[in-house]
Amino acid sequence: MNSDKILKYVLFAASLLILLISGAMVLSLVQGSMPSFHQFGWKFLVSDKWDPTTGREQYGALLFVAGTLFTSILALLIAIPMAFSTSLFVAEYFRNTWMASVVSTLVDLLAGIPSIIYGLWGFYVLRTFIVDIGLSAQGYGIFTSGLILAIMIIPYATSLSNTTIMMVPNELKEAAYSLGATRLEVIWNVIIPNARSGITASYILAFGRALGETLAVTMLIGNSNKMPTGLFSTGNSMASVIANQFGEASGLQLSSLIEIGLLLFVITTVINAVGKYIIKKFA
């Protein structure tokens, strides 16, 4: 056998590793959540009871799914105007100036800050600020978590938007300017319609990031196993409940936590797949 063939086989064999890891991942998660699935069935998804007391153990994922969705949606709503403005700053208004490169470097830096540091900053600075201005007594809850998540996902929401906004052909913009359009009108009528799919995709991918975020949320959401009722209500998220209870869990509780992990895996994968599909389809 010649070296060319060997290399080809080695490369192919390496690619199998990706299949192996992802396949085994799904398999282990499904296998691990079987005991819980046998016990609770599909009711697991719609039950909001989480009671690890031995004897009357009962587990349901609903309130964690709600906590994850509420915080992530809030984060997205806060992040979008910020990210969109930053994208326009970097890719349109101040394109190719030193200011744009400073802003984009700083936003990249935001992506480099580890999750736990966001959590700490949220806990010691943001939370105390929220208490000080009287929005909430303890400062924990959906709002605080959503706010810190928003800061965390801004860089993910901007990076792809920047590229798509920059890719809008200059001829189109110049045509609009020549008809007397103002900058805002060009942005609204030329740039957004042309970059829409890329911008949407980047926000969807950023949303996917927010869903899986663990420690920053764990430190701020309040970790109370109840249904969130409002912006300043405490709650719990899927990732947080795994992080918090995994150490002491065994048996049915462990299996239920793994089922929550499986659920989180499925949700983030679907969201990411939608984002990637939009990029592929319309880019």
Binding site: D4, L7, L29, T86, G112, I113, P114, I117, F246
Partner: protein, 303 residues
Amino acid sequence: MNEINLLLENKRSSIITDTFKGRKIKDNLFLSIVILFSLITISMVFLIIGTMVFKGFHQINFAFFTQTPPNTFEAMMAKSSGKLIPGGIINGITGSLYMVALASILAIPFGVLIGIYLYENTKKRYASIIRDITDVLQGVPSIVIGLIVYLWVVVNVTKGYSAFAGSVALSIMMLPLIVRSTEESLKMIPDSLKEAAIALGTPYYKVVLRVLVPTSFTGLMTGILLAISRILGETAPLMLTALGNPAINWNVVKPSSAVPLLIWQFYNDPNMVDLIWSSTLFLMGFVLILNLLAKWIAASRKF
């Protein structure tokens, strides 16, 4: 008649200037909002890093890099007498470096090989499936990776929390990053270079090893450094795999600490609060240096 015309003319021009003024005002207003929101966004960087530097710098001393953390009692005593908390985070530093090194050894060779595979078989259906699955893998939440590695390694291989389990978790997080960065940096090599090598009769494996990999070396390095900087701060997967250790540990089958794990521990112990900020400052500094190094290497690359 003339007067009416004049009146109409005035009226019309005032309408035109009014709407133009309105449009101009809207335009400026929007620009101000864009600038304001961008400033708010970047001010977050300064707020967060500023807090770390301001609160953390006075704990950074020689002991911080050479000693293990104090116990709660020692920390409480030091705090009540107004002294600096003794001890440091050496077990976290060694643990982080050890696990990240091990993770790199596991992930880099495979990641580069898979990246080369994807580059060489761009058009194949199988390759595009692998690429999609790699993207999926990159999007899996870190806590889920921790959960899975717990089921694989902690339960079945090392029969307990271990540095090895932590490394496996980190390597799974690294792998997709390296695969994609390898493929992207290979794509940037001009085809002519590859064609020249093939035209000279170079065997395919030599084209890969002697032309493709060396030319994209800076690109590969950038990707690797960014991947390392990304996993260095990972906490959640390590909580489920490496657990933590109050002492320095070099044994792969024993629990190990890491800087982010220590930060989490300090956070849960009110007496240790002062150590939190110096540890985050250290971690952030480390991540930042790797990022800057990656940027610097990327800026110096030719292809």
